[in-house]
């Protein structure tokens, strides 16, 4: 068994990661850290894990060496402690944004921070297996993906790879768990329930990842908007793609099958009947799937591509375990076989 510890395990992503690792055939959870909850049993914070483990949170200062270190800290923390973390484990998977982007200028622009360890940026691989599988397999350091970015990139990648897109507007709908476990005025239930609340209408940091990952020789012209809706988990990216040349639906199927036909966690969902015709995050909660669907508009060059995920799974913890499986040489789907619930 490979020993794994989680830094920042009291948050939602850290808790989901702990659930997955506890159920994983090849990982043994060694330590989980939380400054606020040190000494307390994990189920105080993660009630679903009651009876699953005797683990208690420990302080960061008590962190011991292990094989794989998962970092689930808020943005802007891991980047200041990477040398220490790297001294404790051969492999690191960082779920935060601290090592996602290659260009330090992006951190100045999107995260208003002068990156303290820019020389580490090239050492981290962007952890989206469907696009960087071989690179991840041979990496020691992998960065997690942004949840809104993950579903958008996966939806758009086949079209951008083939240089078919003139311009795209990505309109993402998200649940409340994206905001993390810290309560705010905006997340206060009477204020948050039932909203259709534009969150970052004209500038969202996840755009930096799209621009980085979808650049195939020319800087992609993409616009990004996020709207919070009445859900806890889930992210749905509605991508309005304006193509250079119109394509038929049949050609789209061919393109998406070519890129994703063999992918274990991508399902193509574009049906002509039934109430589940297009991707919907509601049925993906707890699963590592990204469902992708598309619709061609007659008489225009617009194609609407939809990508749905569970932001805590394929958008965070699930994707991190998928990447770690590749890094450690385990089967890529190990510990990730929960299919989601319906109805839910």
């Amino acid at each position: 068994m490979v020993s794994a510890s989680i830094v920042g395990a009291s948050g939602y992503a850290g808790g989901e990661l702990l659930r997955l690792l506890l159920g994983h055939p090849s990982f043994k959870v060694k330590q989980v850290t939380s400054e606020t909850w040190a000494g307390k049993p994990v189920h105080f914070v993660h009630p679903n894990l009651r009876g699953r483990t005797e683990l208690r949170f420990v302080k960061l200062e008590d962190l011991e060496p292990c094989d794989v270190l998962f970092l689930a800290l808020p943005h802007g923390q891991a980047m200041y402690q990477i040398e220490h973390f790297a001294s404790l484990a051969h492999y690191i998977v960082d779920l935060s944004a601290d090592f996602r982007l290659k260009d330090p200028a992006d951190y100045r622009r999107w995260y208003e921070v002068e990156h303290p360890a820019p020389h580490w940026l090239p050492l981290f691989t962007y952890g989206l297996p469907e696009i960087h599988r071989e690179e991840i397999r041979s990496s020691r350091y992998v960065s997690g993906v942004g949840c809104n970015a993950a579903c958008s990139i996966l939806a758009l990648y086949p079209l951008y790879r083939r240089k078919l897109v003139e311009m795209a507007i990505v309109d993402v709908k998200v649940g409340s768990s994206e905001g993390g476990s810290k309560p705010t005025q905006a997340s206060h239930h009477p204020e948050r329930a039932g909203v259709m609340r534009p969150y970052a209408p004209a500038s969202h940091r996840h755009l930096a990842e799209l621009v980085q990952e979808l650049n195939f020789g020319e800087k992609p012209q993409i616009y990004f908007t996020v709207t919070s809706v009445d859900a806890v988990r889930g992210a749905l990216a509605t991508c309005h793609c304006f193509l250079k040349e119109p394509v038929s639906e049949k050609e789209l199927w061919k393109i998406y099958r070519e890129d994703y036909g063999a992918e274990p966690f991508i399902r193509l969902v574009s049906a002509k009947q039934g109430i589940h015709r297009y991707p919907d995050p509601k049925v993906l909660a707890g699963s590592n799937y990204c469902d992708i669907g598309f619709a061609v508009e007659e008489g225009t060059n617009r194609v609407v591509v939809m990508g749905a995920i569970d932001n805590l799974m394929k958008g965070s913890a699930g994707n991190a375990v998928q990447a770690a499986n590749l890094m450690l040489g385990f089967p890529e789907t190990a510990g990730l076989d929960f299919p989601g619930l319906h109805p839910v």
Partner: protein, 54 residues
């Protein structure tokens, strides 16, 4: 090995526990103070009543 005075759960004092330390009962979540190590015994620590405000 000792017992939580509130709910009777069996509690193993981890090695290195010191008298006066506060530990949490895993079953009923109450805060307990270690009053002796040999034999190990626990007493209810002063409680801060959280107000849910519901």
């Amino acid at each position: 090995m000792t017992e939580c005075p509130e709910c009777g759960a069996t509690i193993n004092l981890p090695p290195g526990t010191e008298v006066g330390e506060i530990i949490t009962c895993p079953d009923c979540g109450v805060e307990l103070e270690v009053v002796s190590l040999n034999p190990p015994s626990l007493e209810l620590a002063p409680q801060v009543e959280e107000d849910w405000g519901e």
